[in-house]
Symmetry: C2
DNA sequence: CGATTCGTTGATCGGGGTCAAAAACGGTGG
DNA sequence: CCACCGTTTTTGACCCCGATCAACGAATCG
């Protein structure tokens, strides 16, 4: 089934019975958990080509809401699982997809736990670029998510994210166009900042 | 195959070709990633009954090392996948297991990103107790992992973890016996501390 | 065009990191 | 059982990164 969402429209809530699996066609979806004190931890961004709500849990484990206008393809969970059980190749695809989600989540844990603000944002930009842009050179992308979304994903405040963005711009690592446009000018420098992770003046070029 | 590890013995390293999947029989295994400045982020603890290295990635995405003396059962990855391709039921089990790992990793991100030090440690103690102890009342457990392991899992310094432990002891929330023994004296208080800066009151399952 | 949301910049402050050292633990061997 | 020693944990003092509070600027939209 097709499904179209407006900006900030909710797809499902944490604790809801899992009825559907979704595939993002265009736009972007933000997965998050709400905290008792009103705070929010973003646990993932879903971009075109990504599946939402994989895993065989009977309940959704987070909230899902469209960041901007978004088109989805939805599948009934039971039918999805039935198809997977009949097609080993398809099942393997799903297995791989969840594995990628897990790897990305662990990478997020590294950013939140062990990198400083600069390192977190640098790693984030590279990660998103890897998903939104084809090549490895300079490329301009339109970040679907706001500064606040990025901050809630990285465990930072939106002010800090903004400061790091302008800092990178001053250093010539990126260039900003309008509200959401970002061009990576120097991936190697970003890579170095991400790898340094927090030690000012660390080598960061020993490997690779 | 059977495999026995001594304390701190490495099972595999990040980037190694994935040759085996493991099942923990006794002991405990610590999964972590390293930054190039020597900082370490623990991404999960594997206890008896847990699988290690699920997901169809051709390379291991983290380091794995025994925390103490540990017994494992190992399977060749290719055989594992072959068996999965032939047995939809088995494949589903793996799919579910990876999904659980993903959920736990996301919950770890929530804890690391949105709780203060007290809340993180409180949630950690409760989640460990949920896995190591049967009941819900007071119970004494022996933490397999060191303060440093806990710190690297929660994105804190080992000194801070130690200070929080001492603080909880002073408040009568826990009592400490020897180096690794912990008795939960007041789960409700710990839960309150965890919820104060924590998530939606959902049962915390931080351990991988 | 206001109006409104989002992003940037500035000033201040505190939680927790860091460095340092003492203390407690747990083996080991006498 | 006790003395010794390496390791882990605890405690203390200091300080910095990033959160917070607060304006201000700048896109988007009706």
């Amino acid at each position: 089934m097709r499904r179209t969402l407006r900006a900030r429209q909710q797809l499902f809530m944490e604790g809801d019975e899992q009825t559907h699996v979704y595939l993002v066609k265009t736009g972007a979806v933000c997965l998050y958990r709400m905290l008792r004190n009103g705070r929010r931890q973003v646990v993932g961004f879903k971009l075109p080509g990504d599946f939402i709500a994989l895993g065989a849990d009977p309940h959704y484990r987070c909230y899902a809401e469209a960041i901007g206008p978004t088109e989805l393809r939805s599948f009934q969970t039971w039918a999805f699982h039935a198809a997977a059980a009949l097609n080993a190749r398809f099942m393997l695809r799903l297995y791989e997809a969840v594995g990628r989600d897990l790897t990305r989540s662990q990478e997020q844990a590294v950013s939140v736990g062990k990198r400083d603000a600069d390192g977190s944002v640098a790693a984030f930009l590279l990660s998103v670029a890897g998903r939104l842009l084809p090549g490895e050179g300079r490329g301009t992308m339109s970040l679907p998510m706001s500064r606040a979304d990025i901050a809630d994903y990285l465990g930072l405040s939106l002010e800090t994210v903004s400061r790091v963005f302008t800092g990178f711009k001053r250093l010539g690592f990126i260039s900003l166009r309008g509200r959401r446009g970002v061009q990576l000018m120097d991936r190697a420098a970003l890579r170095a900042v991400a790898d340094a992770g927090g030690d000012n003046g660390a080598p960061a070029r020993l490997l690779n």
